[in-house]
Symmetry: C2
Subunit: 226 residues, 2 copies
DNA sequence: TTAACATTCAAACGTTCGTTTGAATCCTTA
DNA sequence: TAAGGATTCAAACGAACGTTTGAATGTTAA
């Protein structure tokens, strides 16, 4: 009478994480009940509290599972580029592509649920709950520091304050692009199949971000610096 | 014994809308209970259902109250610019500023709650609930069409498909910038007071978006067009 | 085989949710 | 002042929520 024979043993945790990823993306954290979640995962209602402790701890686990390797890959890619470059600073474009590539490639991962996660992630940067935003910020902190330092070396002429703003804008563009994948588009007209082509999207986004990052400084900034 | 003497008559609707705006921003739609909301508004628990019909109808009213005038102002500003220009196409920068100015100016409106709304709005573009996203898209549609046409005239050499993507990116940057005001920043370093200076922010953002919009086309796009 | 531990299970816990109800009160108009 | 509609009120509705419980079942090692 039990389904256990069909399920791999010791993988209830993984099935719960997969189900949570998809349902959190579809309905949000508060809109996803433990009953719906455990049903989708083929687990008992009590399984989440047994394996993770609470719903909030599950949310945290969902992000840790994907974000830690993703940011590690970002840092590794940056270090590889820096090693190849010898002592010379990297180009801004290379740094941008190293940062956005890691997330954009996950859009194509429909099998293991990477696309679900990446949409969820893009939205969670602006989640109403402060602890959740703080968690994201904490998981990003090491990579963020490394990339900021790389940009400073790549663009020595740019005022530090201005760089921070432009990184902020770049990050926002990426976050929205990730979150808006699959969703209703405000602007009609783009071919739906292009939304899932990571290589094409990376080139489009990199061109946009690179130009924005290197935009001429406006006089109002000069006035402010005076 | 009643508080009514202290409250302006016939303005329960407005007080509810104001409270909803702030609480939806702080805790999200599902995280805001009718009990907390009506308590903050100084109204009875049943007041929302009496005046609006349901919680969902209240959410819709919150957005209609602000978005309709905001997009009307956008269109009016665009028409004013076009009238002043005679038959000549506008500059891309003028179009960008006409679009982002309307929302950025609301950041400084702390008295009537405009800042609350603008943060709420920035986040809601990527809300998990499809009906909510559809509402936003519907309220934006008329302005979006006008601005797209203006960009096409301003940048006749740009392929239509590319323009759509770049508008998408621009819109995302704006949405994130609005949503992230007041919140924990991923990148440390920018002066907090600058986040509320609409003029400064508009110049910074306009410079970034203008450069991104006019970025050189990458070869991958050429290959795709072939 | 048996003891010890890990996991799953059905059931119930107390709380909070959005909504509804019908009486009480306010406000306008006649 | 009386009537009638608009609004507010306290109270309750049933449903759904996250979590806990203790017994049942599965797994591992002596």
């Amino acid at each position: 009478m039990t389904l256990r024979a069909l399920k791999p043993p010791h993988e209830t945790r993984t099935r719960i994480l997969d189900a949570a990823e998809e349902l959190f993306m579809q309905h949000g954290f508060e809109g996803t009940s433990m009953r719906l979640l455990t049903a989708k995962a083929g687990a008992n209602l009590a399984a989440v509290n047994y394996h993770f402790g609470s719903k909030n701890a599950l949310i945290e686990a969902v992000f840790r599972r994907r974000l830690d390797p993703m940011n590690a890959a970002r840092i590794a890619e940056l270090e590889r580029l820096e090693k190849d470059a010898g002592g010379r600073p990297l180009t801004a474009e290379a740094i941008i592509r190293a940062f956005i590539g890691a997330s954009l490639r996950m859009i194509e991962d429909t099998k293991s649920g990477g696309r679900n996660f990446i949409r969820l992630l893009g939205r969670t940067y602006t989640d109403p709950q402060k602890p959740i935003r703080a968690l994201i910020g904490q998981l990003y902190a090491p990579a963020m520091e490394r990339f900021k330092a790389a940009f400073v070396r790549a663009l020595p002429q740019m005022p530090a304050e201005e760089l921070v703003w432009r990184m902020h804008f770049m990050f926002g563009t990426l976050a929205y692009t990730l979150a808006a994948t699959d969703t209703v588009q405000l602007i009609a007209g783009c071919k739906p199949e292009d939304r899932y082509d990571a290589r094409l999207l990376e080139s489009r986004l990199a061109a946009f971000l690179l130009a924005g990052l290197r935009a001429p400084l406006h006089n109002i900034d000069v006035k402010k610096a005076a």
